[in-house]
Structure formats: structure tokens, C-alpha cells
Symmetry: C2
Subunit: 311 residues, 2 copies
């Protein structure tokens, strides 16, 4: 059982229009609604890999029903804490003439301290039977910077492996709380640490307390900085498709590998392969396992020997 | 008491973004939600003029609650028939850098015949105490072309004045059913009648059975073709602002004038003044009565003497 926390759950709405023309009126040809937010995508990918999951997070307002209905449709168990403000909508307008997506992201509801306490109590009840915890995505407006760090400490108290994928001060504090794996993408990592290269930035996060730092490099693959060594993995060719949710598929593979006790090079290869499989799907977090299995042997993994890297 | 029917109620959502760039991701700075659809805007303008109204229509899905909450906030009584499909959302993305609005309109839920029957039964119960009925806006997907015509005949059976603002076959059939006033805009009128000029098109609708045809000409004002004669009214200068809902304010003034038994030139002057007042407001259907009262004496009304016009 792997628990995922999405602090700022979304209702992802996709609108298809013939052609997006700023300043004009568009007839929406098709509407799709999915539960969204990074932790939800991670749970969807874990579910595809055959893992039991529970989705945790906060929901409220009119979109809450649509979020829960979609989770149920996807076979994803959830324990969502109700809040007063409305769950954020994220609208992707897809232009049928060129396939280009234009996104409009609402901010999400403020989450009061009592609701965070409620979330922690629900997690504490499930952690004894859990193999891992994933905390993924941005924090809702007004959240305390230690919100993720508190969840890391809660998982550690239950000796449960924890992966955190977030940015900024919340990421720094999650690292300091001793997260087993933190998984920012390269631009988030550089922005958060104020470093100019990925290796120094990862080292900075590990010195703060993160056990391993895995950095996604977009189409170029991923790099892992771990106590066992550092590796880089890349797909053999550029995979073209929808990158939304590919980092979440990578997080799912990394946590699944950690639960299985796989060696780091294997975890990284699986993460890049599952991430590439997700790029081939239109829906964030969806993967076709046949793509994944076909891609795994094609991933190139090489050890890094950067001077100055901590082990 | 004036009843308004909105066959395809909307939840109007306004998003403010810093600058709309197709293909990129936008943070929504502010979200506003209002009950929308043309009949709702008419009711809002009538309410501003001091008339009691009841909003009729169909609502369903997650947006229904937001629609009803906004009607309640605006003091608008409503009798909405619940349908299974979701009420359409209409999203206006306003670019803060230039004030330009880009609209995305969903289609709306199909309305089964039993729900139309339910609407007619509710109207029949209220028509004995009503002074007028307004049917305004497009029909939901799959509606029968005689849907508006049936409501016109229902109002006529109760000797209640009825104004219809719609397009296409539904407009032609509403005219044939003997609507007291039909109020298309000029492009809708020309498209519906396949005529090349407004006067011939209005005459065609009157020959079908409409008692009066009032045509909005955008910033150029309005023209009325009635049994008492034909008039054109125009604002003294071009009014700059938000034209959404200005036609609905005009419909409100026309029906209010009909209820009061005002002469046609006065009804038309009031309609152009209230329409111009609505252009000065950011929200569709809202008017500041001080703008209206200031504008009324400024409106220029002149009788038309087109050859070939029917009386």
C-alpha cells in the first residue's frame, strides 16, 4: 500500500476548440474532466503498475464531486479532507488546428490548520500498513512552509519511505526533515537552491538532510544523487507527446523501486521508462504498460563521477 | 410580476490573467462566477428597474449550486427545473494587459421532453399572476424547434404579453405563434430570415405573425417595426464599455414599457438608454439607474417611413 498526498488537488478540465483566437468567442467542442494534481497522477501511475494506493488531499466546493467521481472511475481509493473553499480548476484549452494547449490554473482553496491536522490524523491511521508515502505538488495558498516536512517526520516515525516532489521553502524543509527521496525538476531545483548547476544544487539538498535527490531533466532523462552513487539515465531518442504528468510517472516508478528494494540504477531506468511511457499518453498519469516494458531495455544508464559529489 | 425563461442557463466564469499567450500556462489572478444566460440578464435588469421577476430554466450538475447561489445573492427568485446533464460554463478570460476578453462556451445539457413539460407546468401555475413573459437565449442541444413557440402560445392562452429573443427556426416559429415582440439583433435577424436588409427581414417576421419586431443595431441603437409605426432610436455618441448583456437590458426595458402600456417611441428610447447604461457596467445585466436616467433624455428617436413597410 502506497499513500499519496496531493496538497492542492485540482479538477483538470480539457476544452477542445477549433482554433484559439485571443479576443474572440469559442464554441467548446468537447469537455473532459479528470481528477488532477501531482499526487493524484502519481497514484494513477502506481495503480497502473499494480500497487494499492490511497489518495489523500483536500477538496471543497462544486468541483469536489467531479474529483471524487473521477477517482472512483479510475479505481483509486481516496481519503479526502473537506475544506470550505473551492477545489481549483485547471483548464487546458487544446487548439485542434495545431494541438497546442493553453493552460489556466486557479489558485486553490486556503486550507486551515485544523484541516492539516485532520489530514495528518488520517495518514497516521494508514501509515502502519503502508510501504511508502508520496507528497507531491504545490501547497495551497497560505500553507505553512513546514507542511511537507511535518508529513516527512510523520512517515519517518512509522519507518515508512517518503518521497517529496515540491518546490521552494517547502522542498528545503522537507529535505532538512530527512526525506528519503526528493524529486524536483532541474529548473525547480536550481530556483529553490539558488545554485547554477544541478550537481551542486543536489549536493546542497543532500547536505540539508535529503537522503537521495532525483532530478528530472525533461526529454534528456533524469539524474539521481544517492548514498550509493550518482547515475544518469536517458531515453535512446527524444519521445514526443504530452509531457504533463511524466514527472509524476517517474515519481511512481521511483517509489515502487524503493519499496521493492531495487538498486538505484534500476530504479532510475524504470523511472525514465515509465516517464517516457506517460509522455505517449494524452492523460496525465496514464501509462500503457506495453510502452513501459518496451522502453525499459532501451534506457541508457551511466554512473556519474563528478568531483565534489557527496556519497 | 414578469417571468423570464432562459432555456440554456450558464455559469459565467471570469478569469483575470496578466497576459493571454496561446500555448503557455497562466496563473488565474481572480475568479468570478455569476449566473448567466440571456433570460437571467433580463431578470437582473428588470430587478434593477424595480420589477418582481421569477427566473425559469433548466440547471444540472456541479454548476447548478453556483448558479442558484448567485441568483439568491442578486435577490432574483427562481424556479429552475433540474436536469441530469451539467449546466454549461462560459469562461471569459480577461487579459489585464489590454482588457480584451476571450470566451470559451460549453454547449449545455440536453433537456428531455419531460423537463420541458415540467417547465411549462410551472409557468402555467405562475402566468395567472404575471404581467409578461420573456423567453431569451439559445436553446439547449437537441431542443425541438417549436420550444419557444409553445411558450408563446402558453402565454397567449393566459393573455400575457410575451417577448422572445432567440435565433433561427425557433425565432421563426415564435413569430408564427404570434409573439407580441421579437427582439433579434441585426445579424441574427438577417441570418434567420435570409434577407439582405433589416426592414425586409422585420417585415417578413411580422407577416409570419410577430406583432412587433425590435432589432438591435449594436452601438447604432435600435429599430422597432410595430403596428403603430416604425421608429429608430440611437444614443447621441458611441458608448464604450462591455456590450455583453446590453441587448438583454434592452429587452427588459421593452417588456417593462409594454407592461406599462407606454407608446412605442418611449419604449424604444428607454430600451436604448438602458442598453447604453448596461454597456457602462462590467457585469452583464447590471445597470446603474443614474446612468439610465441621465441617458434617457439624450436618446434620439425618429420615425421611419420606409416604403413597403407593413403597419
Amino acid at each position: 500500500m502506497i499513500l499519496t498526498v496531493t496538497p492542492n488537488v485540482a479538477l483538470d478540465i480539457t476544452y477542445r476548440v477549433d482554433r484559439l483566437t485571443p479576443g474572440s468567442s469559442h464554441r467548446v467542442r468537447r469537455v473532459e474532466e479528470r481528477a488532477g494534481g501531482k499526487g493524484v497522477n502519481v497514484a494513477r501511475a502506481l495503480h497502473a503498475l499494480g500497487h494499492d494506493t490511497i489518495v489523500f488531499g483536500f477538496v471543497g466546493g462544486a468541483a469536489a464531486g467531479a474529483v471524487m467521481a473521477d477517482l472512483a472511475r479510475g479505481g483509486l481509493a481516496h481519503e479526502l479532507v473537506a475544506v470550505q473553499g473551492p477545489t481549483r480548476r485547471s483548464i487546458a484549452v487544446v487548439d485542434a488546428s495545431n494541438g497546442e494547449a493553453t493552460l489556466f490554473n486557479e489558485a486553490g482553496p486556503p486550507v486551515p490548520a485544523t484541516s492539516w491536522n485532520d489530514l495528518e490524523a488520517r495518514l497516521a491511521a494508514r501509515l502502519p500498513e503502508a510501504a511508502a508515502l508520496v507528497v507531491s505538488g504545490s501547497l495551497p495558498p497560505g500553507a505553512r512552509d513546514d507542511a511537507c516536512a511535518r508529513l516527512v517526520r510523520l512517515a519517518a516515525a512509522h519507518r515508512v519511505t517518503v518521497l517529496v516532489d515540491t518546490v521552494g521553502e517547502a522542498l528545503l524543509q522537507a529535505a532538512a526533515a530527512g526525506a528519503d527521496i526528493v524529486k524536483p525538476n532541474s529548473s525547480e531545483l536550481l530556483q529553490t537552491t539558488d545554485c547554477s548547476d544541478v550537481a551542486s544544487a543536489a549536493t546542497a539538498l543532500r547536505r540539508r538532510g535529503a537522503k537521495a535527490v532525483v532530478v528530472s531533466l525533461g526529454a534528456a532523462g533524469m539524474t539521481a544523487f544517492t548514498p550509493e552513487g550518482s547515475w544518469r539515465a536517458a531515453p535512446p531518442t527524444r519521445i514526443v507527446g504530452n509531457p504533463t504528468g511524466s514527472g509524476d510517472a517517474a515519481a511512481a516508478a521511483l517509489v515502487a523501486g524503493a519499496v521493492a528494494g531495487a538498486p538505484w540504477p534500476d530504479r532510475l531506468r524504470d523511472a525514465v521508462a515509465l516517464s517516457a511511457a506517460a509522455v505517449l499518453q494524452a492523460t496525465a498519469g496514464s501509462v500503457d504498460l506495453r510502452d513501459y516494458l518496451r522502453l525499459v531495455p532501451q534506457i541508457l544508464v551511466e554512473e556519474r563521477h563528478d568531483p565534489g559529489l557527496d556519497r
